[in-house]
Symmetry: C2
Subunit: 225 residues, 2 copies
DNA sequence: CATTCATGATAGTATTACTTTTATTTTGTT
DNA sequence: AACAAAATAAAAGTAATACTATCATGAATG
C-alpha cells in the first residue's frame, strides 16, 4: 500500500506549495541533497538550479529565500515527527510504552517508514540537526510569525509533555523536559559524530543506540524516582 | 584590585592576538556590540570598521573572517566559564556545593565579576547562546582543527563531568550529562524569551532563575535517585 | 483559437567577503 | 634625533551572493 503524507504547512513557509508540482518536489528534494552534502551556508539557489536543471528565477517562485526553504524543511520534519507519533502511539498503550516510542522516534529508530515519503528522511534529519539554529531565523521574524512558524515544534512538544504528565502528573517541567529531550536527541547524536569527548559514547554500540540509552536513563531518573 | 584575565587562546582563532593592542580590543568589543544588536548574519567587517572607526583591511589583519571572529568569541566564553569555575570552586567544598556553583555559572548567576574584564559578559553570553550552531563552523573545519578549536568547551565539559562523578561515581553518562546541562542552560534560557511554549516558565520568577531551578531538578533526579 | 500561467533565458543590482596596492602614521632601536 | 620596521589608513578591485526584473516560450485551459 502507498501512503501519501501531506501536511498542511503554513503558507508563510513558501511562496507556492512545492508539493503541488513535480518541479516543486524536485526543488525540495534537491535542496535536501545539496544541504546534506555541503551545509546550509554553502547552499545557494544557483547551485540548486543547476543541480535540478532549472533556473534561479523559477526557484524563487516557490521560495522567497533559502532561509524560507530551510524553515520549510524544519517545519516539515517536526510535522512528520508529530504525525508519526500520533500514528504509532495509540491510546491503549501504557504511558511507559508511549514514552519509549517517543524516544525511539526522536532518536530516529523508526526505519520502518522510509517508503512513506519522497524525501530522504535521514538526510533531512541530518539537516535539521545541523541547522537547528533557530536564533538566526528568529531574529528575522516578529513574534507573531515566530509562533506560527514554530507551531509544529511546539505542537510536538506539547504532545510529548502530555505523555510526561501521564507518567508523573505533578511534574512541573513537562514542557521543558520535552524540549530538552528533543534538543538533546539532536545534540548528542551530533556530538557522538563530531565531538565525541562531549559524550560517553564508545564504538561498542551504534551512535543512535547510545543516544537512546542515554535519554532513557534521563527520563527514568526524572520521572520515576 | 584589578584583575586581568588573559587566556591563552589557540592561534587558529585569530591572525593576530587582539588582546595585544587597543585596536584589537576595540575590534572584539565592537564585534560583540554589533553581533548582540543585530545577530551574526547581519554582522559584517564593513559595519564593524565604521562602528569602531577603522578600515576593513585592518580588521582582516586580526581575523581572517567573521567566522573566525565568532569562533574566537565562543572560545573566549568557554575559557571564561572554566576559569571562573576553577576560581570559585575550591577543593574543600562538597560535591553538592560544587555542582550548585557549576549550575549557577552556566546559567549566568555570577554577576560578581563584570569588572573582571573589558567585554560585556551579558552581551557575549547572548551571542554564544544565539550563535551556538557549531555545525556550520564544524563543516568548514577538519577533525583536527575541530578538536583544537573546541578544546575549551571539551575542557569545561570534562571538569563538570568530574564533579558529576564525585556525586555518583558509577554514573555512565557523566560527559553527556555535562554537555546536556551546558546546552540546556543555553536553550531553555533562549526558549523562555523566544518560544515560551517550549518551557513551563511563568513570569512569577526571572528567566534565569527558572532555568536554574529546572537544571537543579534535573541534576537532583539523575544523580540522587 | 485565445489566454493564461508556469517556466526558461538573460540581464542587472546591491551587497558581501575578501584581496591588493599604495600611502601614512606609529613604534622601537641605536 | 634619526632611521628602519611595523601597523594602520585609504582606496580600489574581484568574485560570489541574494536577489529582482524583463521578456520570450510553450503547455494547459477554457
Amino acid at each position: 500500500m502507498e501512503f501519501l503524507i501531506k501536511f498542511r504547512l503554513n503558507e508563510q513557509l513558501c511562496v507556492k506549495d512545492p508539493e503541488s508540482t513535480e518541479l516543486g518536489k524536485s526543488i525540495v528534494q534537491g535542496a535536501i541533497e545539496l544541504m546534506y552534502a555541503s551545509g546550509f551556508e554553502q547552499f545557494t539557489f544557483r547551485k540548486l538550479s543547476i543541480h535540478i536543471q532549472t533556473t534561479e528565477a523559477t526557484i524563487y517562485r516557490y521560495f522567497s529565500s533559502k532561509h524560507q526553504l530551510l524553515l520549510y524543511l524544519q517545519n516539515w520534519y517536526w510535522s512528520y515527527l508529530e504525525f508519526l507519533s500520533r500514528l504509532l502511539i495509540t491510546e491503549e498503550k501504557t504511558a511507559d510504552e508511549k514514552m519509549r516510542m517517543v524516544l525511539e522516534i526522536i532518536t530516529h529508530h523508526h526505519e520502518k517508514g522510509p517508503a512513506l515519503m519522497d524525501y530522504d528522511l535521514n538526510q533531512l534529519h541530518s539537516i535539521v540537526i545541523a541547522e537547528f539554529s533557530k536564533s538566526n531565523l528568529m531574529r528575522a521574524m516578529d513574534t507573531h510569525h515566530c509562533d506560527v512558524v514554530f507551531n509544529p515544534l511546539t505542537g510536538f512538544c506539547s504532545y510529548v509533555s502530555q505523555i510526561i504528565l501521564e507518567l508523573k502528573p505533578a511534574y512541573p517541567y513537562a514542557r521543558s523536559l520535552a524540549s530538552t529531550l528533543l534538543q538533546t536527541a539532536h545534540d548528542q547524536q551530533f556530538y557522538t559524530h563530531h565531538v565525541p569527548l562531549l559524550t560517553n559514547h564508545t564504538s561498542a554500540i551504534p551512535n543512535h543506540q547510545y543516544v537512546l540509552n542515554y535519554l532513557h536513563s534521563l527520563v527514568d531518573a526524572v520521572l520515576k524516582h
